[in-house]
């Protein structure tokens, strides 16, 4: 485990102040370098780095930045997605509370690269402490000339504002986030136009996850090629912050080279195995929106493509581990209740379908399930999947389909026995 890590050694309270950042983390050296580079050269460096968005979709960051129309005369915006609302995910919180200047520096560089002088950090409302810590770091940066007018004598201006959400999972979806930033209900927009064309306040906009932006100073300091080589697989550069929770002995945030371990290694070598040495039942590998894996499927390398190949996803790199003593029917009911609660209600398949799935799962768990319920669940999920404006619908459907298919016997036992077999 002597692999290069970028973050984890700094994840403690002492790392927060600007002094630490300057003396121990090469603070604002990358910004100084970037502000003397051509914008396209920065974007190329990020392309070379194979940095892929850490928010969930894994979209190549350099390519995304390249979509900003240069000739546009409208103000451009750089928005950091700090909503961190995908259940199971808690890594961005550590970046914001321990190394906030990494994020600020990444945004200065990103802003310069896309020609934006206005940045927002949209942080979930519950993170009040983190919002205050971020604001304190931003104040430090303004005082020292790393933010504001004529940054480091370069002539480049960049203003950064912390904007608090108010409790809505859907505001993690980038177009819902932009509506929320504009003072509206957090309802996703019809795409196209994509944010790069028309985003915040109808200006060209880039939305990036906290970790994505915090990776940028490393790329500028050490080079895109170096960053790309940190990753163990061809297409994924850098390291990944992985949130691991549930029934493991040592839950927490782990940092590994992208594609640096299998799920089995993560659970047994890094997290010390299953709580009380019980048997493994299920793994949710990419936040609660990811289709579930059984205990037989965990020898997969933990990265975007390998997981996609076996029908699930890495999402926000959040692994939830479930041991055999927990009822999987109860689990998927709880997950589905979440999506039913968080559906913004714009699209009928999602608004109605999630509620129906929740009701059916509820009655199965309660022992009142009917023979046709499993077919009906799969049918409803199928009618949601791919038929909604945003990916919340898919996020609700995928887990239901996978739980029913992979743990069918557990559902049938509930229906036949008229109660939870383990109750």
């Amino acid at each position: 485990m002597s692999e290069t890590t970028l973050y984890i050694q700094h994840f403690n309270e002492e790392s927060r102040p600007l002094d630490y950042y300057l003396s121990k983390m090469n603070g604002y050296v990358a910004a100084k370098k970037a502000l003397s580079m051509q914008q396209d050269d920065i974007i190329n460096e990020v392309k070379k780095s194979n940095l892929r968005g850490r928010g969930g979709a894994g979209f190549p960051t350099g390519m995304k930045w390249g979509f900003i129309p240069k000739q546009s005369t409208k103000p451009k915006y750089l928005v950091c997605n700090a909503d961190e609302s995908e259940p199971g995910t808690f890594k961005d919180r550590d970046i914001m509370r321990y190394t906030p200047h990494l994020l600020i520096e990444g945004m200065v560089i990103g802003g310069y690269a896309i020609g934006s002088s206005i940045g927002y950090i949209y942080i979930r409302g519950e993170y009040t402490r983190e919002a205050k810590l971020l604001q304190a770091a931003i104040d430090e940066a303004y005082a020292k000339g790393y933010l504001g007018k004529n940054i480091l004598g370069s002539g480049f201006n960049f203003d950064l504002t912390v904007h608090r959400g108010a409790g809505a999972y859907i505001c993690g979806e980038e177009t819902a986030l932009l509506n929320s930033l504009e003072g509206k209900r957090g309802e996703p927009r019809v795409k196209p136009p994509f944010p790069a064309q028309s985003g915040a306040f109808a200006g060209p906009t880039i939305v990036n996850n906290v970790e994505t932006l915090a990776d940028v100073p490393f790329i500028i300091n050490q080079g895109g090629e170096w960053f790309a080589k940190l990753g163990k697989l061809e297409k994924s550069g850098g390291t990944r912050l992985i949130s691991i929770s549930g029934h493991v002995k040592k839950p927490g945030v782990y940092e590994l080279p992208a594609g640096g371990a299998t799920i089995r290694q993560l659970i047994y070598d890094y997290c010390g195995g299953i709580l009380n040495d019980r048997k493994l039942k299920a793994v949710i590998p990419g936040g609660s929106s990811a289709p579930v894996l059984t205990a037989d499927e965990i020898d997969v390398i933990y990265d975007i493509e390998p997981l996609m190949k076996i029908g699930t996803m890495m999402g926000s790199a959040a692994i939830m581990v479930v041991s055999e003593d927990y009822c999987v029917v109860k689990l998927i009911k709880r997950i589905t209740k979440f999506y039913a609660h968080e559906s913004c209600g714009q699209c009928t398949p999602c608004r109605e379908g999630c509620k129906w799935m929740e009701d059916i799962l509820h009655r199965i768990e309660d022992g009142h399930g009917r023979d046709q319920d499993l077919t009906m669940l799969l049918d409803i999920a199928d009618n949601i999947n791919g038929k909604t404006l945003c990916a919340l619908g898919d996020a609700a459907a995928g887990p239901v389909t996978s739980f029913v298919k992979k743990f069918r016997a557990d559902f049938e036992a509930h229906i036949r026995g008229g109660k939870c077999p383990s109750a």
Binding site: P75, E84, S85, E86, P87, G88, T89, F90, D92, R93, R124, G125, E126, Y127, T128, R129, D159, T161, H163, R164, G165, A166, G167, A168, Y169, S180, L181, E182, G183, K184, R185, G186, F201, S243, I244, S245, G246, H247, P251, G252, V253, I284, S288, A318, M320, V321, V322, Y326, K330, L331, R334, I335, F338, H341, E342, C344
Partner: protein, 157 residues
């Protein structure tokens, strides 16, 4: 209309105004600030926010009602929000909720008669590695157990 929002509210908003290209973008910050003053969003406060921003009162409510953190009804002095999402449930959140309901004599969503405690179930708080987690007003409490919760609550009574 008599004003209910304080000087501080208007001073905070003045500071934020130059940060946004439109005034409507101040709606979420304004509602947060208003809620800070009352602990919830009384209708008069929402109306005044609407006047300040220059939008219809219905538009304020349409937005306020979308977000779970805005309290459209008064809440107790101590607002307990226990996360019952996946990771917390795997670590015993359900038992914690039950424990609290018994201890406080109320169900989730209710407030004690003395207006001291409001109990609520919350979705994932982003503290799953230190589950079970909850919020007490603005503060996180993590790695909870019934014992820890008792100590916390007894300290508040």
């Amino acid at each position: 209309m008599a004003k209910v929002l304080s000087e501080k509210f208007y001073a905070e908003m003045k500071k934020l105004e130059p940060r946004y290209p439109t005034k409507v973008a101040l709606l979420l910050p304004a509602l947060h600030q208003a809620q800070e003053e009352f602990g919830w969003l009384p209708p008069e406060a929402m109306d005044e926010v609407g006047v300040y921003i220059g939008i219809h009162p219905a538009q304020v409510r349409e937005v306020a009602s979308f977000y779970t953190m805005y309290n459209l009804k008064p809440v107790g002095k101590y607002h307990l929000k226990i996360c019952t999402n996946v990771a917390c449930c795997l670590r015993g959140a359900d038992e914690l909720v039950e424990h609290c309901e018994k201890k406080l004599g109320i169900r989730c969503g209710e407030t004690t008669l003395d207006k001291k405690f409001t109990l609520a179930e919350e979705e994932c708080l982003g503290a799953c590695g230190t589950a079970p987690a909850m919020m007490l007003n603005d503060d996180y409490h993590e790695n909870l157990s019934a014992l820890k919760l008792d100590q916390l609550l007894d300290g508040l009574r």
